[in-house]
Subunit: 164 residues, 2 copies
Amino acid sequence: MRLSRIIGARSGGATAQAVSRLREAERRRSLRSSRGREEIARAAAGLRGHFEVDALVRAVRARGGRASRATVYRTLPLLVEAGILEPAVASRRKGQYETAVGRSHHDHLVCAHCHEVVEFSFEAFEILQREVAARHGFELIGHLHELVGICRDCRQETLPHGDD
Amino acid sequence: MRLSRIIGARSGGATAQAVSRLREAERRRSLRSSRGREEIARAAAGLRGHFEVDALVRAVRARGGRASRATVYRTLPLLVEAGILEPAVASRRKGQYETAVGRSHHDHLVCAHCHEVVEFSFEAFEILQREVAARHGFELIGHLHELVGICRDCRQETLPHGDD
DNA sequence: CTAAGTGCAAAAAGTTTGCACTTGG
DNA sequence: CCAAGTGCAAACTTTTTGCACTTAG
């Protein structure tokens, strides 16, 4: 048993989990288990925060891997399906992802005005989500949950009658 | 309250509401209220389902408006901020939106394998969302909530041998 | 009048694809 | 061995921008 898992480290545990999820997804789709995809999955598991595709490509290379941008793009859907990555901050429409293994899940609250992003997590959402998925016969892999609003600062700053 | 609202019509009510929300957002940002933006807001309020930017451009023209693609792109963030549109089915990464006025809200359940999209709505989510937003001092405008999973058909089709 | 708004077309970003070369099973 | 996987670069699609013209306030 991995101690790193218990203490919540994002070291070997997350990577091992990512690889195992990848294998599972590959089996599901009857795909070969290739060196490239594994490199990408490992690199993805090691990233934190929000990142775009190019950053993932660079991460693979930084680990000595050799993934091309094309291969990463071709692999992304599988990583999402495998539950290794999930799309993040979609309202930026920029192809951003975040790692779904080795860290507790959180959602986003985004200011439509200044684009500040606040992370939050709320157990109740997760429970309801599982319920909805089950009700429709889906096996839940992940989710994208983003609340769009106007933050306190922007409301005050932009209302003519508000103070400054 | 408006009868049109009660019977869920997407007639004049939604358009009027869209224009009023637009005015409010323009005031907030100290922008002029232009003919173009209003045309776009009206057209947006009239669309239903998921649509991409180009469809909105065409919708404006179909109503006799004259918005260019550039203007629509420049206006989109304001429409989202105004609560007239919200991003939809982000995992497709394609710039899809849907109207946020004049219809009851729903979220999406997407199959990561076959990309089938099931709509669902669950009052409990809305309540919790408002609570989270308030807790962080945000005025909630809208949200993007997408559950990613594997639908029943895809699980059966790809798992000749169930295991876990 | 003058700064914001707009259209057009060109440019930039982001993503997909054809093809020839590898590689896993 | 041979179909799946990969890299590269070209093709595509989507979004942003510069500039000259128009319009709201």
